[in-house]
Amino acid sequence: MSANSPNPVLIIGGGIAGLTAAVELADTGVEVVLVEKSASLGGRVARLHQYFPKLCPPTCGLEMHYRRVRENAGITVLTLAEVTGVTGSAGDYEVEVRVRPRFVSEACTLCGDCERVCPAERPDEFNYGLGTTKAAYLPHGVAYPAAYAIDRAACPEGCKACEEACKYQAIRLNAQTEVRTVKASAIVAATGWKPYDAAKLEHLGFGQCRNVVTNVMLERMAAADGPTAGRILRPSDGKEPRTVAFVQCAGSRDENHLPYCSAVCCTASLKHAAYIRALYPETAITIFYIDVRTPGRLEEFGAKVQHDADVRMVKGKVARVEENPATGDLLVTAEDVLANRKSTEHFELVVLATGIVPETEGLPAALKPDECGFAGKNGSPGIYAAGCVCRPAEVSATVQDATGTALKALQCANRSVSHVR
């Protein structure tokens, strides 16, 4: 560590929070190492069809960040990488990073030959299990780095088809996992969130009723590059549904599941209603809710969608979803609390608005989780958390949080080289 330049700031997680912290920090001249577990940056936002409240595609925000990453030589991006150990103290951490091989080098031109010859399939995790990809796969449409990757766990014994097919010699199937030690002045953990496991909601039929899907799955169906090419189709028969029910608080605000409000699901379901109404003007939407929570500036967006006469809002938590095996239709039991009427209604598709669970695996131990499992914001003087791993929030709040956290990290980095305390 020289007297004038601090160690880089290490960021764990390349979602919108990690990306924001990385580019904002790098803009101040400090070096950044961005460690991302999956094969691409972008995080959950890359899986959205459109952002509320403006309903712009995620490429908007992501492309801008990617450009800044690309143009700033001070940012080192490590994908397929995870932090396996942290030692040292603020200003002078030593971080052990395990980098799994991608098996595809920068020479990749996205020609797609490897994918075409690949004989093996794997579950499409990016699309929440809706369909499969080849073992040689492009992470997604807005992948960064823009390169294929190979899931060796899915490869057949001894198969070298992709290596042989690649005209650019970009594929090396014998690449090995690498363990690196990175010096860091401060650490920002932005590992984000994962959807609540809908199978735990036994009464809501996920996994038992074919036409019960989750909000994140619907998001992928609505996306043009998604498994149904942008159409909303019932899993059982590929039919476009004429009636759709949204079940809010599927797990959230429930002491038996997630005791907290996930903050985004109400606005997300209203957004989904808007997607469907735009695609299929004949399709009627019912949203079953406990309270409609569209805080702050999201209120206006929420009100606009609710203004649509074919978006019916029913105050009442859904307690039961059952399938009519003959038609695949669903029987949804809830009480319209305002009308004091308990009833069981038919729907062709049911969407569970599952909530946000913090992704705390691989988080530095200093960031102690709170009683709901979210990471504390400040662990020790040089270790911070940002984004949805700290609290459930929409993109704009996440970005603001990450920017603020970047300042904390910067202060820490500067303190480590400054004599003035």
């Binding site: 009464h203 608080c249 605000r253 429930d254 002491e255 038996n256 599941h257 406990i290 309270d291 009442g316 938590k317 859904v318 307690a319 039961r320 039991t333 809830a334 009480e335 609390v337 004091n340 009427r341 308990k342 009833s343």
Partner: protein, 380 residues
């Protein structure tokens, strides 16, 4: 505001209900998960969400006219799935306790629910009266025994100790008194619950057979699809048949039931069935409460223990008394006879018109009221 209505909330209501066991009532956020998981809650008679709202808002009048708490058999599904741990099942139980107090015109029920001291006091007082009846008057009870001479001490001669003509009169008087109290309370329940609905006579008559069937079989309980509802229903049915049998034996057929000597009598067989049923069912209930098995047994108020507890002791002393009689143990037989009555009588006095056992009439009556109200609304 032509249709404006002034609602006078009863600000004490929530506290009364919380004291009666609904301590978590305020946690409810009105999501209605409870009403929807409940297979007994119907669009016409929905619970517990609406009743909890009325409780939270202090709408006492609405609660009083509402019989739905009696339609709940406390399987506990609502509590198990409540996202706020507001314990709706226990809220319904608290409402039943509260309503029992409200129906009772003597005010004793309310006193006993509110204060354990009162409940125990009344039990002990009645117990004392029973013991005194057997011990004090010179021409009755033990006094009589000494007059009867050494013969009754040497061998069991129940009729010398407690002449069945006298006991039978006592039985009948007690049964009539409790019957009148229970019936007048039930009549009040009926009046309160139907005061806002005009119900034609024909509707009343049409639903009468259903009332009888429900009263005897608790058939509606079988509509509950919760896991152990069959077990609970069966246990309840065993208890009811045992209870009804012993009631008939003691109140109507005492002259044949109380046998004088220490030999075996065929007419005791019914008594054996009743003893086994009451002993078994009450022990089973106590066991479940101790093990807190199932939502129904997780929370117990003193009055919840009193019911199976006293019943168990009554049945047990009845059995022991019979054993002593068969073994020709004169003094133990007489002592157990007094103990048996000193438990059974206060139990009946407290529980039948004022306490938990009032539900033997309130439940079928509630089903009846709900049915006639529904019919009346449909015909209007």
């Amino acid at each position: 505001m032509k249709d404006a209505r002034t609602v006078e909330p009863d600000v004490e209501l929530i506290a009364s209900l919380m004291a009666a066991g609904g301590a978590d009532l305020k946690k409810c956020m009105q999501c209605s998960n409870c009403t929807c998981v409940c297979s007994l809650s119907t669009p016409e008679d929905d619970f517990p969400r609406r009743q909890i709202l009325h409780a939270q808002w202090g709408l006492k009048d609405r609660l009083l006219t509402d019989v739905s708490p009696w339609l709940c058999h406390y399987c506990g599904d609502c509590t198990e799935h409540c996202p706020r741990q507001a314990n709706p099942g226990e809220a319904m139980m608290a409402l039943r306790r509260y309503l029992t107090g409200q129906y009772d015109w003597t005010g004793l029920s309310l006193l006993m629910y509110r204060s354990e001291a009162w409940a125990i006091g009344v039990l002990l007082a009645v117990s004392l009266v029973v013991v005194l009846l057997f011990t004090v008057p010179a021409n009755f009870g033990f006094g009589l025994l000494s007059q009867a001479g050494p013969a009754a001490r040497a061998t069991v001669m129940l009729d010398k100790f407690a002449p069945k003509e006298i006991v039978h009169i006592g039985d009948t008087l007690l049964a009539s008194l409790l019957g009148v109290l229970l019936l007048t309370n039930a009549a009040r329940m009926f009046r309160i619950a139907t005061r806002d609905t005009h119900i034609p006579l024909g509707v009343y008559l049409r639903h009468l057979p259903g009332f009888v069937v429900q009263g005897v079989t608790q058939k509606r309980w079988r509509e509950c699809d919760a896991g152990d509802s069959f077990k609970n229903w069966l246990r309840h049915l065993i208890l009811v048949t045992g209870y009804a049998t012993i009631f008939l034996l003691v109140v109507v057929f005492l002259p044949w039931f109380q046998v004088q000597d220490h030999s075996f009598h065929w007419n005791s067989l019914l008594g054996y069935y009743a003893s086994a049923a009451l002993l078994g069912a009450s022990a089973w209930m106590i066991g479940d409460r101790m093990a807190q098995s199932g939502e129904m047994h997780r929370f117990s108020q003193p009055s919840d223990w009193m019911f199976p507890g006293l019943l168990f002791v009554t049945a047990l002393t009845g059995v022991l008394l019979n054993v002593c009689r068969l073994l020709d143990q004169a003094m133990p037989t007489y002592v157990l006879y007094v103990v048996h009555l000193a438990v059974a009588v206060p139990m009946l006095v407290v529980e039948v018109p004022f306490g938990k056992w009032a539900h033997l009439l309130y439940r079928p009556l509630a089903i009846y009221i709900a049915a006639v109200k529904k019919s009346a609304l449909q015909t209007q």
